[in-house]
């Protein structure tokens, strides 16, 4: 099966374009836009781990190593499309326009973090595995029924493809030709379970055959391949041809979350080797260098800008008003039932009113 679904690249490990048909489309502006976003989300990820270690946010799910998959796919979306991320796609959500302050609030245990900026259709991160896949199918079907050209993208990992909701969502979407892209980031590990123990299938892309939809397997660390294949899948969706399954083969360098230690279940030497060879940022750097576009001052500026942006978001997150206990009760139903109203009144009276 892996012969039928080879990993497609546009750019090889040395930053050389191996699919000549894209040469024209890959402009300096596009590549620089990608690079800026890759650096921006990596710096955020590292900072977030540090915040967790300092006790300034809660448990955090890092994505370092997977940035090309997240940046390339998010930049392929139209601003009016839907995004259904999981807990590991806040990089993609950030690139798509989510508020960094709210992303931090989410990781600091606040519901406010699930609210996207006005006009942005970003779902709260899916926590139970694969459950967001049917949501994306439904939201996409709704767009089709409204007669728009909007599409949806659903993110999920390799382990999610073992869940029933993966099958049910892909089956449903394929039957009703919903305009949705199922974007799998195959980072080859669940928490600790490697893909060989997760599935007998040699690829994830091949699972598309069952639904008679295209299954595309790409190098998830090649930002060009991710971007152009996601664009193609979105075009297909918008033109009424239905869903596509994209398998972006990638790797997370670190832990599943800050609550586990990857050295316990895998040889982290492999991560180091992968970083040298396949790292999404290093590869784009090689391309920029090959093209004579790499400029250290420009890179420093990107880093300075990103640092300022991240620091500002941290300040905003930490200056955010403390949790208002009334919010526990006020968003269960549009109108609270008598149980909720009385529980709220009694509790607030007991603690002497709203604490904010």
């Amino acid at each position: 099966m892996d012969n039928q679904f080879p990993i497609q690249q546009i750019m090889d490990l040395n930053g050389i374009i191996v699919s000549p048909e894209y040469k024209e489309k890959i402009t300096a502006d596009l590549a620089k836009k990608f690079y800026r976003q890759l650096v921006r989300i990596r710096m955020f990820d590292r900072k977030a781990i540090s915040l967790q270690r300092q006790g300034r946010i809660g448990t955090y799910a890092p994505y370092e190593g997977q940035e090309a998959s997240q940046v390339g796919s998010a930049l392929a979306l139209h601003s009016s499309d839907w995004m259904f991320p999981t807990y590991r796609e806040h990089g993609a959500a950030f690139v798509f326009g989510h508020s960094l302050r709210n992303i931090l609030l989410f990781w600091n245990g606040r519901n406010e973090g699930c609210i996207p900026p006005d006009g942005k259709k970003i779902f709260p991160p899916g926590i139970p595995i694969a459950t967001q896949i049917p949501h994306a199918a439904g939201a996409a079907l709704a767009e089709k029924m409204k007669g728009t050209k909007n599409a949806a993208i659903a993110y999920f990992g390799d382990g999610a493809t073992s869940e029933g909701d993966f099958h049910e969502g892909l089956n449903f979407a394929s039957v009703c030709k919903a305009p949705v892209v199922f974007f799998n980031q195959n980072n080859q590990y669940a928490i600790s379970v490697p893909i060989e123990k997760q599935m007998n299938s040699k690829t994830i892309a091949q699972k598309a055959i069952a639904y008679d939809i295209p299954g595309i397997r790409i190098d998830g660390n090649d930002v060009f391949a991710v971007y152009f294949e996601t664009l193609k899948a979105l075009d297909r969706a918008r033109s009424g041809e239905g869903p596509t399954l994209i398998e972006a083969v990638t790797w997370r360098y670190g832990a599943h979350t800050t609550a586990d230690d990857p050295a316990k279940y895998r040889d982290q030497e492999a991560s180091k080797k992968r970083r040298m060879e396949t790292d999404p940022i290093l590869r784009l750097e090689r391309w920029l260098k090959n093209e004579g576009l790499y400029d250290e001052d420009w890179v420093r500026n990107i880093e300075t800008d990103a640092t300022a942006e991240i620091e500002e978001a941290i300040v905003e997150m930490e200056a955010f008003p403390p949790a208002d206990p009334a919010d526990i009760f006020d968003h269960v139903f549009a109108e609270p039932t008598w149980q909720i109203r009385e529980q709220k009144e009694e509790y607030l009276r007991l603690i002497g009113g709203v604490t904010t």
Binding site: I115, P134, A142, W338
Partner: protein
């Protein structure tokens, strides 16, 4: 000129079909989703003729995947539609439990009202029709335990249509339980067109002074029959039909129990963790000192709903209800 609302004699299932048709005509956002609801009109014919009239997109036959189409319904609800989902039998809802528990009921809370799920899940429930295994469950308490979903259970054609329309117009998810045992057993005058019955309000079915009998759904005819029979023994029962299981109508319970001082709660679901216990909590909180006897519960047993060969033993019947009424009278 007459202003009287025109009515039609209907069974409970016909009233549901009528309510669905009324809302399909009224609101273009309403879509029906479920297994075999199109040409077949659903296994109980609740959607009979609706696909023909409103098309395959609005009356959608879904793949056999309760988690998949409840999940897709959540996506559609968030994106401007009002999905009304049919689960063939309540006993088949369990694959969708995760979607309901972790998403449908929580999206409003997670996003502080930014995303909401105005969705109705309809499910026939209960035993007594000689149906196969798992087709007879009455597990409403699983859902009343979930914060963020209302649970409605009508017992009459008039209430079924009015509550269904209220459920479709409700801004939050509603589980709408249909007593399949009484789908076709009684007829009632049902108004044509749109009307609603407020969710969260019970109804007094019989006035009495001595004992309050509280029930709902498929148990109502049996509870009423037992109450009528008790008149011969000089006991006047007041019969309350809860109609909504979350949020329960506390006032109607308190008012009646404070009058009678004696309560018998009847439900076909298992006793432990059943809604009867919530009713007991309401009585405890509102009417403790009014009670003349400990309240009795007549319920299904804490055993899985058995094969239908045993269901007459499993289901509460008039004999058990009358026994409980005598018990609270004699305390």
């Amino acid at each position: 000129m007459s202003t009287a609302v025109r009515t039609k004699t209907m069974t409970l299932i016909q009233a549901i079909t009528d309510g669905l048709g009324t809302m399909l005509a009224e609101r273009k956002e309403v879509v029906l989703m479920g297994e075999d609801i199109g040409k077949n009109g659903g296994v109980f014919r609740a959607t009979d003729g609706l696909q023909e009239k409103y098309g395959e997109e609005r009356v959608m036959d879904t793949p056999l995947s309760e988690a998949g189409f409840v999940g897709a319904g959540i996506g559609m609800a968030v994106n401007g539609f009002l999905p009304v989902i049919e689960i063939q039998f309540l006993g088949f809802i369990y694959p969708a439990y995760e979607q309901i528990m972790t998403h449908a009921t929580r999206l409003r809370m997670r996003t502080m009202g930014h995303y909401t799920v105005p969705m109705v899940i309809r499910a026939p429930y209960g035993a007594g029709v000689r149906a196969p295994e798992i087709h007879c469950d009455s597990t409403e308490a699983i859902f009343t335990h979930m914060p963020g979903i209302k649970v409605v259970c009508p017992s009459s054609p008039y209430d079924a249509k009015g509550l269904l329309i209220a459920a479709i117009e409700d801004p939050d998810p509603v589980l709408f339980l249909e007593p399949m045992r009484t789908y076709r057993s009684a007829r009632e005058e049902v108004p044509e067109g749109k009307y609603t019955i407020e969710i969260g309000k019970g109804k007094k079915r019989l006035e009495g002074e001595d004992v309050t009998v509280i029930s709902w759904g498929a148990m109502m005819p049996i509870a009423l029959k037992a109450a009528e029979d008790m008149k011969a023994e000089g006991v006047q029962c007041e019969v309350i039909d809860l109609r909504t299981l979350f949020p329960i109508d506390r006032d109607i319970i308190a008012e009646s129990v404070q009058k009678t001082g004696r309560t018998v709660i009847v439900h076909e679901a298992h006793a432990t963790g059943g809604i009867g216990n919530d009713v007991l909590a309401i009585i405890n909180d509102t009417s403790f000192l009014y009670q003349k006897a400990p309240a009795e519960r007549v319920t299904g047993f804490d055993a899985p709903v058995p094969y239908f060969g045993f269901e007459d033993h499993y289901l509460p019947n008039e004999k058990r209800i009358k026994h409980a009424i005598r018990k609270v009278m004699m305390f």
